[in-house]
C-alpha cells in the first residue's frame, strides 16, 4: 500500500511548477501567461502546505503563509488582468510579443 508522503506532494508541486513555467515560456497570449503564473504560485502553495504538514511544528506557519499566497495571487491576478486590458486597449491585442516597446 503506497503511503502518500512528502515526496509525492513535492512531485505534484514540481509538475505544477514545470507546467506553469512551460506555459509562461511558450504562451504568447497574456492571459495564458497569467494562467502559467497561477500554476507556479499554486505549486509554491502546495510546497508550503506539504512542508508544514510533514516538517513544521504546531504553529502552522506554512499553512498561514499559503493563505497569504492565495490572497496575493488573487490580487496579482486582478492587477495582471488590468494590465492585460490596458495592453489590449493600446495595442488591440494581448500578444505579449507585440508589446515590446521597451526593448533595448
Amino acid at each position: 500500500m503506497l503511503t502518500i508522503g512528502l515526496t509525492h506532494y513535492l512531485i505534484v508541486a514540481v509538475v505544477l511548477f514545470c507546467a506553469g513555467l512551460y506555459t509562461m515560456m511558450t504562451k504568447r497570449n497574456a492571459i495564458g501567461i497569467l494562467i502559467g503564473v497561477e500554476l507556479v504560485l499554486n505549486s509554491a502553495t502546495v510546497n508550503l502546505v506539504a512542508f508544514d504538514r510533514y516538517l513544521g511544528g504546531q504553529k502552522l506557519d506554512g499553512q498561514i503563509t499559503a493563505l497569504f499566497v492565495i490572497v496575493l495571487a488573487a490580487a496579482e491576478a486582478a492587477i495582471a488582468v488590468g494590465i492585460c486590458i490596458n495592453v489590449y486597449s493600446n495595442l488591440g491585442t494581448v500578444d505579449v510579443d507585440r508589446a515590446s516597446r521597451l526593448q533595448g
Binding site: 505579449v96 508589446a99 515590446s100
Partner: protein, 788 residues
C-alpha cells in the same frame, strides 16, 4: 546768551547757505530768474548775517572772563579716531572767529544783493541752458564753505572747507564756461592751488604725525611743550635747505596760504581769475577766499618757528612789491584791482611774518570792505559800459555814474591809507582803512627791523618750565615777554592808538605772553623799505585807475553815451562804503587784539601786538606816521599830475621806459616762464614717456601678446582637439558601445525574460545543491534529506 547758544548760532549760520544751496540745485529752475537770486540772498546770506550780527553784539557785551570760559567750553563732537588721534568736529569760538564770521556775512550779503542786479543784465544762457539759478547755488555753496572754514576748530575740517572754497572758486571763475578764457583761468586757479595745498598737506601730516592732534589749540599747546622739552618734532635731526622739521611744518602750512592767498610765486592764478563774473571777483577773489590764506596763517601762528615766520615775511614782501609794480601799467580795470589785491594780500602776509598778527588781520578786514566795494564799483562800471574793461576807453564817467564814482573814491582813499596824521577827533584818528591797518603793519616792521635790539626782556620768573605757569588764559609755555624799555607807558602819540584798543585788555594777557627773544632775529631792513616804498606806489595806481575811469574827458564817446548805473548795484556800494568807515574805527581791531594773546602765545613766537604792540608803535610813530600817512598825498599828486590831462604824458613815459614797461606789462614774464618750465616741461616729459611707452612698454606687451596668441592657437589646435575633446568624446563613445552590448538581452519579449529568470534560478539551485559546503546544506537541505 548762555551755554552753547553761540555755537548753535554760528552752526546755523554755516548750515543755512548749504540748505539754500541744495534747494537751489533742485528747485532753482522753479524759482526763476529774479526769484532764485532773492532766495539765495535770504537763505545764503540773510540768515547768517542776522545770526552773525546777533552773535557779535552779544560777544561784545560779555567780559573777558566770560569770553575765555566760552572759548574753553565750546562744544566738540567726536568725529573719528585715526591712528589713535581723536578728531573732533567743533566750532572755534573766539573773537577772531566772530569778527571774521561777521565780516564775511556782511560783505557777502551785499555782494549777493549786487549779484542780483548784475546778473539781470547778463545773459544767463550757456549752451542753450538757463543757469541763472546755478550762479546763486554756487554762491551759496561758497558761503557755506567759507563760513565753515572760519569756524573750524580742527585743521582737518579747515582743510576740507579750504578745498570746498577752492572748488567754488573753480566753478565760479568758469561760470561762462562756453568761452575759452574762463575755462583756462579756472583750470589755472585750481591747479595752482593744488600746488599750495600739497604743502598744506605736508604740514598737516607733520602736525598729525608729530603733534598727535589736529585740533588747532591742542596742536599749539603740544608744539610749545615739545619746544620746551626739546622732544617730538624738535628732536628730529632732519633738515632741508637748512630748515628744521618744525620750520618745515610751518612753511608747509604756509604753502597752502600761498596758493589760496596768491602769494609769489603762486600768484599767477588770481589776475586770470578775473575772467569770472565781477561779483565773484569781489566776493571770492578780493574779500573773502583769498583772505583765507591770511586767516590760516593767523590760526596756525603758534606752529610757526621764527625761521618759518621769516620765510612768510619774505614771501609777503616780495609779493607786495612786485604786484604793486605790475598794477602800475595795467589798463584793464579789473586786472588793476586784481594786482592791487595781490599787493595788499602781500601786506597781510608780510604783517603775519613780522609778527603783526593783529595788524594783519585788521588789514584783512578793512581791505575786505574797501576791495569788495572797489570790485563792485568796477562791476558797475563794466556793466554800465557794456562790458568794456579797458580804462583807456573810459573817462569822465563821474557825470554818468556819480554814486559809483564817489564810493569808488572812498575805496581809493581807504586803500591808499588816506588820513590826517596827528589829528584826532573824539579820541579816534581821522582816516580810512589802510590809514590804520597798513600803517600798523609798517610800524611793527619798523620795530622789527630797526629797533629790535633796543628791546629788553622782562623775566616773569616762571623759568622755562610749562608746569609752573599758572596763567590759565595763555599757552603754558615760556617765560618772558617783550616790552619796549624806553617807553613803558601806553603812549598816545600814534594817530590810531585808541582804535588799537590796548588799554581794554590791560595786562591780563600780557603776563602769559611768551617769547624767546634771542631766537627771533631782526627783520632785514630791505623788507621794511620795500613795504614802505610800496605804500607810496599804492595810492598812485589807485588814483590812476580812478582818474582814468571817472575823471577827465570821455575818450570813447560811444561808451560814454551808453554808460549808466542802477540802484540794485550802487546800493551795495554805498553800504560797503559805510562799512569801510565803520571797519576802520570800531570793533574789529579790538576783537583781534582780544584774540591775539591766546592766538600768538607760543614758545618761540614773538608777537608784537595787542598789549605789547602799542608802546612799540609809539616810538616809531612819531615820525613814521608822517612818512606813511602822507604817502597818499604824494601818490595822488603824482597820479593826477600824469593822468590829469589825458593819456599823453603817460604815453611819453611809456616810450621812455620801454623795456621796463614791457617787463611790467608782461608781469615779469612769469607766466611765460611757467609756461616754458612747467607746461613745456610737462610736454617734454610726456613726449619722452610716450616714446618709452610706444617703443619699450608697448613693444614688450605686443610681443607678449603675440606669443600668448600663438601659444593659444597651439593649445586650441592640438591639446584641446586631441587631448581634452578626445577624452570627452572617447568616454561618450565607450558609453554608447557598452550600452549597445548591455541592452542586447533586453528584447522586450516577456517569454525570454521568463526563460532567463528560470534558467538563472535553475543554475543557482544547481550550484547550491551540488556544492559540497556543509554550511549550505544547513540552509537548503538536500533532496535526500528532505525525503527522510
Amino acid at each position: 546768551m548762555t551755554g552753547h547758544t553761540y555755537e548753535i548760532c554760528l552752526a546755523l549760520g554755516v548750515l543755512s547757505p548749504m540748505i539754500g544751496f541744495w534747494l537751489l540745485v533742485f528747485g532753482g529752475r522753479v524759482l526763476g530768474k529774479p526769484g532764485a537770486g532773492w532766495f539765495a540772498l535770504v537763505t545764503g546770506m540773510g540768515v547768517p548775517l542776522v545770526l552773525a550780527t546777533y552773535v557779535l553784539l552779544c560777544w561784545l557785551r560779555v567780559d573777558d572772563a566770560t569770553r575765555a570760559a566760552l572759548t574753553e567750553n565750546a562744544a566738540r563732537f567726536h568725529w573719528a579716531t585715526i591712528g589713535g588721534v581723536s578728531i573732533d568736529i567743533g566750532i572755534k569760538l573766539d573773537s577772531l572767529t566772530i569778527a571774521m564770521f561777521f565780516m564775511v556775512t556782511f560783505i557777502a550779503f551785499w555782494i549777493f544783493f549786487f549779484s542780483i542786479g548784475y546778473m539781470s543784465g547778463h545773459s544767463d544762457e550757456v549752451d542753450g541752458k538757463r543757469k541763472y539759478w546755478r550762479f546763486f547755488a554756487y554762491l551759496s555753496l561758497f558761503a557755506f564753505s567759507m563760513l565753515g572754514l572760519v569756524v573750524s576748530s580742527n585743521l582737518l575740517f579747515l582743510f576740507i572747507f579750504w578745498e570746498l572754497v577752492g572748488l567754488c572758486s573753480y566753478l565760479l571763475i568758469g561760470f561762462y564756461f562756453h568761452e575759452p578764457t574762463p575755462q583756462y583761468a579756472q583750470i589755472k586757479a585750481f591747479v595752482t592751488n593744488r600746488v599750495g595745498d600739497f604743502g598744506f598737506l605736508i604740514g598737516m601730516m607733520l602736525v598729525f604725525f608729530h603733534l598727535k592732534t589736529l585740533d588747532l589749540d591742542q596742536a599749539a599747546v603740544v608744539f610749545g611743550e615739545q619746544y620746551a622739552a626739546g622732544s617730538g618734532i624738535f628732536a628730529s635731526g632732519f633738515t632741508m635747505f637748512g630748515w628744521s622739521l618744525a620750520t618745515i611744518l610751518g612753511i608747509g602750512l604756509f604753502c597752502g596760504a600761498m596758493g589760496k592767498s596768491a602769494q609769489f610765486p603762486l600768484h599767477v592764478w588770481l589776475p586770470d581769475a578775473m575772467a569770472g563774473p565781477t561779483p565773484v571777483s569781489a566776493l571770492i577773489h578780493a574779500a573773502t577766499m583769498v583772505a583765507a590764506g591770511v586767516y590760516l596763517v593767523a590760526r596756525v601762528f603758534r606752529l610757526m618757528t621764527p625761521e618759518a615766520l621769516m620765510f612768510v615775511a619774505a614771501i609777503g614782501c616780495i609779493t607786495l612789491t612786485l604786484m604793486a609794480l605790475i598794477a602800475l601799467v595795467q589798463v584793464d580795470i579789473k586786472k588793476c584791482l586784481a594786482y592791487s589785491t595781490l599787493s595788499q594780500l602781500g601786506y597781510m602776509i608780510f604783517g603775519m611774518g613780522c609778527g603783526a598778527w593783529v595788524a594783519a588781520l585788521f588789514h584783512l578786514v578793512t581791505h575786505a570792505f574797501f576791495k569788495a566795494m572797489l570790485f563792485l564799483g568796477s562791476g558797475q562800471v563794466i556793466e554800465g559800459c557794456h562790458h568794456v574793461q579797458d580804462m583807456r576807453r573810459m573817462g569822465g564817467l563821474r557825470k554818468k555814474m556819480p554814486v559809483t564814482c564817489w564810493t569808488f573814491f572812498i575805496g581809493v582813499l581807504a586803500i591808499s591809507g588816506a588820513g590826517i596824521a596827528g589829528v584826532k577827533v573824539g579820541g579816534a584818528g581821522i582816516g580810512l582803512g589802510g590809514f590804520f591797518s597798513k600803517d600798523e603793519i609798517l610800524a611793527v616792521a619798523y620795530v622789527r627791523s630797526h629797533e629790535w635790539t633796543s628791546y629788553e626782556r622782562v623775566e616773569e620768573g616762571h623759568g622755562g618750565g610749562h608746569g609752573s605757569d599758572e596763567h590759565a588764559s595763555a599757552v603754558k609755555v615760556g617765560a618772558s615777554r617783550v616790552i619796549l624799555a624806553s617807553d613803558p607807558a601806553h603812549g598816545d602819540s600814534g594817530h590810531g592808538s585808541t582804535a588799537h584798543g590796548a588799554s581794554a585788555h590791560g595786562g591780563s594777557h600780557a603776563t602769559g605772553k611768551a617769547a624767546i627773544f634771542e631766537n627771533t632775529p631782526p627783520l632785514p631792513k630791505w623788507m621794511f623799505y620795500l613795504a614802505l616804498a610800496t605804500a607810496y606806489i599804492t595810492p598812485f595806481y589807485m588814483m590812476r585807475a580812478w582818474w582814468m575811469t571817472f575823471m577827465g574827458k570821455p575818450r570813447d564817446q560811444h561808451v560814454y553815451d551808453h554808460a549808466h548805473e542802477t540802484p540794485m548795484m550802487y546800493i551795495p556800494l554805498a553800504v560797503l562804503a559805510g562799512g569801510t568807515a565803520f571797519a576802520s574805527y570800531f570793533v574789529f581791531r579790538d576783537l583781534f587784539a582780544h584774540a591775539a594773546p591766546d592766538a600768538t602765545d607760543a614758545a618761540m613766537v614773538l608777537a608784537i601786538d595787542g598789549t605789547t604792540h602799542t608802546p612799540a608803535m609809539s616810538a616809531a610813530h612819531s615820525y613814521l606816521v608822517y612818512a606813511v600817512g602822507g604817502s597818499f598825498v604824494a601818490g595822488f599828486a603824482l597820479a593826477i599830475g600824469i593822468y590829469g590831462r589825458g593819456l599823453d604824458v603817460a604815453e611819453k613815459i611809456k616810450r621812455t621806459a620801454g623795456p621796463l614797461h614791457t617787463l611790467l606789462e608782461k608781469k615779469y614774464f612769469i607766466d611765460e616762464l611757467y609756461h616754458l618750465v612747467w607746461i613745456k616741461g610737462c610736454l617734454v616729459v610726456a613726449t619722452v614717456a610716450r616714446f618709452f611707452d610706444t617703443w619699450v612698454l608697448d613693444l614688450a606687451y605686443n610681443l607678449l601678446g603675440s606669443a600668448t596668441e600663438r601659444f593659444a592657437v597651439f593649445i586650441g589646435r592640438f591639446v584641446d582637439v586631441h587631448g581634452v575633446d578626445g577624452i570627452v568624446n572617447g568616454i561618450s563613445k565607450t558609453s554608447l558601445d557598452v550600452s549597445d552590448v548591455v541592452r542586447s538581452p533586453q528584447t522586450g519579449r516577456i517569454r525570454s525574460y521568463v526563460m532567463f529568470a528560470a534558467m538563472v534560478a535553475a543554475v543557482v539551485i544547481l550550484i547550491l545543491v551540488f556544492k559540497p559546503e556543509p554550511s549550505h546544506r544547513l540552509l537548503i537541505p538536500s533532496v535526500a534529506s528532505l525525503g527522510g
